[in-house]
Amino acid sequence: MSERQTIDARGSFCPGPLMELIARIKQAEVGDELEVLSTDEGSANDIPEWVKKVGHEMVESFQNGDVWHVVVRKSK
């Protein structure tokens, strides 16, 4: 059954939110959603760029206070 996992990458400069997502998405099942929490505004751009190139699916992206929430669905 598909599920949503949270990746709390707030305050992560290295390896950073996208790298955290790449590491975790490998362990997820196809159909799972991963929600990245990031305090780096660059995540709102660099995560969708990678998701598009690799062939996963963007679900949503929004800002809540200082935190960006980027939700990705594993597609393959």
Binding site: C14, L18, M19
Partner: protein, 377 residues
């Protein structure tokens, strides 16, 4: 108060010694006890493996006897833990013994797992174990020219290694006089050439100056050894004659086998370093699932904060500080130059241009490390 430390790497060793210094009187009076369980009687200086892989350090310089690094009050056993029974505050070891505790610290570290990418282990070199560093040096020494491809898996220990290994190999082939026969192809998983944006900007300028080619958004999918090609998850490919890998890492198998954390990473509170859901279990270094660098300095600064807190719990009954996410990484930049990046959860890094003084300090730190492990630096 029984404090049990599982793991004798950098984090566990600094923690044990720092605690022994802070709890000197309590240890003497029998009010505190520190026990360490490790898988090895030797302690390895892991950053030295980079130098072994380019023939600049002998392997015996990597090691010290673990007992020579520990304060005499610390009870030490080479007897790795096989079972964690956290509800009963005890662990069981390979020899079949059971150890109880009042406070448990898990610092078992991580391991490179090239076998998790098809074809990678058998077709690449890396510098993450002694045997692999020696094999890398053999292949580097015998390399006569062609494309050197650097490929990076995630997560990985030591975030500066992809850049450092590129720069030191560039230096090495230049010194050998065959640089004109060597092409460098650097690949990196995200959209710049290093996770730290200012480091990536600086390194891009260096790569352009040195003629090092790079491809970003490149995550290894599989290696075709017959055709000497690395395929990426993003659908691209990179040819190699020598494939230098930074393999993806996992935590130790015992962590996952005991259900403590997926892939061997234990869910950990970023400030208290407590294992999530547990009041008397703490996690250090690579073993945490924190979104910070898996690096020796991370383990070092976490160990200092945790030692202060555990000693305060023994003396006062409660902790006194938070870990702030501090990390400090040297960056070898080639040509006998180096710089560093220092940051925490709130302060981004602002690395300075590399210089010779930092390089020579790093060389000195390769020796000073042993004082650091003893909790003296």
């Amino acid at each position: 108060m029984k404090i049990l430390i599982v793991g004798g790497g950098m984090g566990g060793t600094i923690l044990a010694n720092n605690l022994a210094h802070r709890l000197k009187h309590e240890l003497k009076q029998g009010k505190a006890q520190i026990t360490m369980l490790s898988a090895s009687d030797r302690h390895m200086y892991q950053p030295g493996l980079l130098y072994v892989s380019i023939g600049r350090m002998a392997t015996d310089a990597l090691y010290r006897e673990q007992t020579s690094l520990l304060e005499p009050e610390i009870e030490f056993h080479v007897d790795p833990v096989t079972t964690f029974t956290l509800d009963q505050n005890q662990v069981t070891t390979q020899s079949g013994k059971t150890y109880g505790y009042d406070m448990l610290v898990i610092a078992t570290g991580s391991r490179a797992m090239p076998e998790t990418i098809p074809g990678l282990a058998e077709n690449s070199v890396n510098c993450y174990t002694e045997a692999n560093a020696i094999e890398m040096w053999r292949q580097v020494r015998e390399f006569q020219g062609g494309t050197v491809t650097i490929a990076v898996g995630v997560p990985h220990k030591c975030p500066m290694i992809p850049l450092e290994v590129t720069f030191v190999l560039h230096d090495y082939f230049k010194e050998r006089g065959i640089l004109d026969k060597v092409k460098f192809q650097y690949t990196y998983p995200i959209g710049r050439i290093h996770s730290l944006a200012p480091v990536g900007e600086w390194a891009k300028g260096e790569f352009d100056r040195l003629g090092i080619q790079y491809e970003t958004l490149f995550n290894m999918k599989e290696v075709d050894g017959a055709n000497k090609v690395v395929h990426s998850e993003e659908g691209t490919q990179s040819h190699y004659d020598l494939l230098v890998a930074v393999p993806p890492h996992k935590g130790m198998a015992v962590i996952e086998e005991n259900g403590l954390g997926q892939s061997g990473w234990i869910p950990t509170d970023r400030h208290s370093l407590k294992m999530e859901g547990r009041d008397n279990v703490y996690v250090l270094g690579d073993t945490t699932n924190l979104p910070i660098s898996k690096a020796g300095s991370t383990a070092h600064f976490e160990a200092e904060a945790l030692a202060e807190n555990l000693a305060a719990i023994v003396k006062l009954g409660e902790p006194v500080r938070d870990y702030d996410g501090k990390v400090f990484c040297f960056i070898e930049a080639g040509s006998d130059r180096a710089t560093y990046a220092m940051f925490n959860y709130n302060q981004p890094p602002a690395p300075k241009p590399p210089n010779r003084a930092v390089h020579w300090f790093k060389m000195a730190y390769n020796q000073l490390y042993w004082a650091s492990a003893r909790g003296l630096l």
